[in-house]
Point group: C2
Chain length 615, copies 2
């Protein structure tokens, strides 16, 4: 394709973006128009992608980080022959794959975008996979807006990309000067971006984003650069090519005022088709080995910390399956992920203290076919909440593991305590939330996670805990374990993690007082074992939940939800963390928060005394 | 104090850090020892702080971003005479103010730290207040570790500080080369940090962090620098001064192996006291004006979007109270915070697309006595989850407002939909969670928020909604409104926001079919109006919650929690968003998620048909 045709293609992309938004009655054509030459040059000259085989391992990856510019992406798909004109005009309509912001409902979209600042971190994950795992020379192209450069997550990615020498990664920065409500911080000061990126170790090229030859040269320079990532920083006009909107404030996120006039000004509708370069043959080397998983086993009565069992089980899983990778945020000694690092250093990724990049890299590796386990303190996974949210929209299967759950960590105090993590992960659509109390249980759940779809979360504990179960016990996801039971039980205590052990101690105390109680280990917080809870409700009429977590959003809510289909309800009582803890020993913390054995026993006695339970 | 005495003071701080951790049996002495000269020089020569009057408006602010180095901070307090030696040795013990990581339980600590990368963003908020609101020449000192420079939030703050020309802000960067599990990315390459910070517009000084004269000169250069913030980048040794631990891996976060020997090597216990410079007299100018609040009023039957009412009410609040400030993350046109900007530009803070900095700046301004309202899309507040979590530990009173709630936003799709926000904010200790359905209700709740303690969250909706309430109606926090009621009600529908309107429509439909239902507007999701729910439970026996939010953690869970004290429970049924939405019109979205009037009516009919409700 000659330069003149390329310029024509850019105009075509603009026209089609305008048409799509006009048909939808909403959308972001002006944000699409600024990047039309970037899109045209990329599609026609640099992208290697087989649109008929999106699963081709050698395909380049294209991430539209400025997801609101979806009309541009869809216009590119049309030009590539991946969709037809009829489908383009379904943009933003019910049932259409062409959503307001791209999602993997389209086979060529790897990850959902639309929450700004996520494209580059996820792109880093894909590029890392290409370089360190796949050994396939695909290139990762991330098209970002200038406004999103204010997101800290972008700088986590910038740092990580240069540190890892990701020369297979190119950032196309569309500097159109205008955010949604007015000018960006740096306007058209391309050098402001370039200075920063160079200081962080990137190669940069500044260019006129509307000159196809200049853009082409910039992209060629990017692909020729060795040893570090390149940013192509392009000066553009928002709404370029249409006088009514070009470089004007107040034109964000709406169709053009007069689409017909705009299309005429852009030279009318075109129907050029681009022959996109297909990638060379490629084969992914991480094909899963079958069988051979030998999980660690712990003897009943011994003590082991769930975090330790996690580290050991993950290491075993890594030995059995070469598609399992582990990611750390500089706390691998605490989470015990470092055990994996020692055995499988080639599949261990140190993300430093950058939890957004941690989760984004895991998503990027999932996209490339891996089974990622990313771990840090449970408390610090809140840093990555928006990445978890978007990973769910991306239908990504990612395993997240949060250590140092609850007040039970003791002296370090509230900043280090995961107390909101169950609430956060329960609200993720399609998620699985697991919270073991024992080494063998932890190991089995870690193995199960590797085959689960969507977001899976495992909450691990810091302290050693008695081994309750044998190494061959099964722990199905969605199940629970009844640890004490009699036909005379007056209350059923529902616990998980550390509170299982406290509940068993409370039950022993109460037994001596003639108050039999049932104890359920609800290790699967989501999905929850409604059947066992229903039986307990039928048998006892009263469920007491005890959790080392805020009383909102966690175990108590999960148990209540199990009865939210209109069935008759048991009485429900919940114990959980309602205070803001300070420093104290673990046992002092559990007592101060009212979730230790003594507090549980006291709550049961009160229920009995107030005749709120069956005689 | 002469240089020799300063060096002695630094050794004293080391010794006291070692003693505190030894007495506690845990803690981070080696991370304290690296920064001892930074702490000594700051305390003795640069900090202006009246420890007897922590409320003094002219006091400098000191934020220990590397909160694990709390032994250093407490040793400084001892040297300043703020605490005594006996209290120092209560470190990390139950009941002590000297927690593992500092919190505002100590009057000289403004904000809790311990989640790395938060000190600088909060410091930016304080420095902004000093420069743009207080007009008091206090200086903000942030002491950070090198590991935390990997956090994106730090770079949001770096960018914002230089953009705002915060020459009253100094970052003391303790480059001790070792994170908790090994070397940092850049080791002792001070210039790696300096290059980056300079590119982002900072002044930088590199120094030997163990040479008190060099540190003093660096701090003097920082205070003399005009027009931009300064970073003092200090090369230090972790565990400096004690051979057994100095610059060694594996010595993080534990007491020294032999405290006695270490103290001897450090020259023994010293008891020097520092006369810290007191600040000049200062007066805060934002004393609250009393009365005069004229909220916007809307006529019943008119239509207004809750987000619009928020913008108008906030503007009115800003006119009545000069301590109210507003913060935006570049979406003020969408959240309607821009109305405030037009009337009160001096109290409006544009944080660009950096939600962590948005919340951190709000916390920093709260610390300085302001009443901040920070708003962005509800979905994007998940970016700041960890900052919200830590703000709660800081006991900060901060108002957060999330617009574009739920699937009701329509075509933009799931990336823009706040669907997890209620779960996130309910789990914050001491929080208030409000979700209005009407303009007048929104306005009243905005006014109430200004006087609430802790984290308050308001969820606003994008679309115009009919005005249901008169402008003089009261909406107490913790209350609800019964919108339809009869003694024959067979089900009680509990709704908030958009689903209130859908529920009313469903009730009208059902009435024509002879099925009377009660409708409660549960605008206060936390605290929740248990009394009204109990009455509804007594009267109808069945509560149907309907929410434009995930079925976990939101309205359904809040209603269940209201009955979690062992009372007999009504039957509970919940409708909420269980799918991953795509693009569609708002009414199509509500229907697809099963929360529109038709779906509500269908659910009630099913309950009646299955005889799950009273005849």
């Amino acid at each position: 394709m000659q330069d003149e045709q390329l310029a024509e293609l850019a105009q075509q992309l603009r026209v089609d973006a305008v048409r799509a938004a006009d048909a939808a009655g909403s959308g972001h054509p002006t944000s699409s128009m600024s990047a039309a030459e970037l899109g045209a040059v990329l599609l026609a000259r640099h992208l290697r992608y087989d649109f008929d085989r999106p699963e081709h391992a050698g395909n380049d990856r294209l991430v539209l980080s400025k997801g609101h510019a979806s009309p541009l992406l869809y216009a590119m798909y049309l030009a590539a022959g991946a969709i037809d004109d009829e489908e383009l005009l379904t943009f933003r309509k019910k049932g259409s794959r062409l959503e307001g912001h791209p999602t993997p409902r389209l086979p060529w979209v790897d990850v959902a975008t639309g929450s700004l600042g996520q494209g580059l971190p996820v792109g880093v994950g894909m590029a890392l996979a290409g370089k360190r795992l796949d050994d396939i020379p695909y290139r990762v192209w991330v098209l970002s807006g200038d406004s999103e450069m204010a997101e800290g997550s972008v700088w986590e990615a910038v740092e990580h990309a240069s540190y890892e020498g990701l020369d297979n990664l190119t950032l196309l920065l569309d500097v159109n000067r205008l955010g949604q409500r007015g000018p960006t911080r740096f306007g058209w000061d391309l050098d402001a971006y370039a200075r920063r990126l160079r200081a962080h170790g990137w190669h940069t090229v500044e260019t006129d984003g509307h000159d196809v030859r200049a853009v082409d040269e910039a992209l060629s320079e990017a692909t020729a650069t060795v040893g570090r990532p390149t940013a192509v920083i392009a000066r553009t006009d928002k709404g370029h090519g249409v006088t009514a909107v070009q470089d004007q404030e107040g034109k964000h996120g709406k169709p053009l005022p007069d689409a017909e006039e705009a299309i005429a000004e852009l030279g009318g509708v075109r129907t050029a088709r681009v022959q996109v370069r297909t990638p060379p043959p490629a084969r992914v080397l991480h094909a899963r080995r079958s069988g051979g998983l030998t999980l660690p086993g712990y003897e009943k009565g011994d003590e082991v910390a769930p975090r330790t069992a996690y580290g050991e089980a993950l290491t075993a899983l890594g030995a059995a399956r070469t598609d399992v990778v582990a990611l750390d945020a500089e706390v691998g000694d605490s989470t015990r992920a470092e055990y994996f690092a020692k055995e499988h250093p080639d599949r261990y990724f140190q993300c430093y203290i950058a939890e957004q990049q941690l989760v984004a890299a895991a998503v990027g590796m999932y996209v490339r076919g891996y089974v990622p386990f990313a771990s840090t303190f449970a408390a610090f996974l809140t840093r990555a909440h928006d990445f978890v949210r978007m990973a769910a929209v991306s239908r990504a299967s990612v395993n997240l593991v949060g250590s140092h759950a609850g007040v039970a960590i003791g002296q370090d105090g509230p900043s280090q305590m995961g107390l909101e993590d169950l609430a956060m992960f329960r609200s993720v659509p399609g998620s699985t939330v697991l919270y073991p109390c024992d080494g063998n249980q932890t190991a089995r759940l870690v193995a199960a996670m590797a085959d689960l779809p969507n977001i899976s979360y495992l909450r691990t504990s810091r302290a050693d805990m008695p081994v309750l179960y044998g190494p061959d016990e099964a722990f199905p996801v969605g199940g629970s374990k009844v640890l004490r039971s009699s036909h005379r039980d007056r209350v059923c205590v529902v616990a998980a993690g550390v509170t299982v052990h406290e509940s068993l101690a409370a039950a022993a105390l109460l037994e001596r007082e003639g108050i039999p109680v049932r104890v359920i280990d609800l290790y699967s917080v989501k999905p929850v074992d409604g059947g066992t809870l229903q039986t307990a409700a039928d048998d006892t009429g009263c469920l007491l939940t005890v959790e080392d977590h805020r009383t909102e959003g966690g175990l108590g809510d999960a148990v209540a939800e199990a009865f939210s289909d209109g069935r008759p309800m048991p009485r429900l009582v919940r114990l959980g963390v309602r205070n803001i803890p300070a420093s104290a020993k673990p046992e002092e913390q559990l007592h101060a928060s009212g979730i230790d054995a003594e507090s549980i026993a006291a709550a049961v006695r009160l229920l009995v005394a107030e005749a709120m339970v069956r005689p």
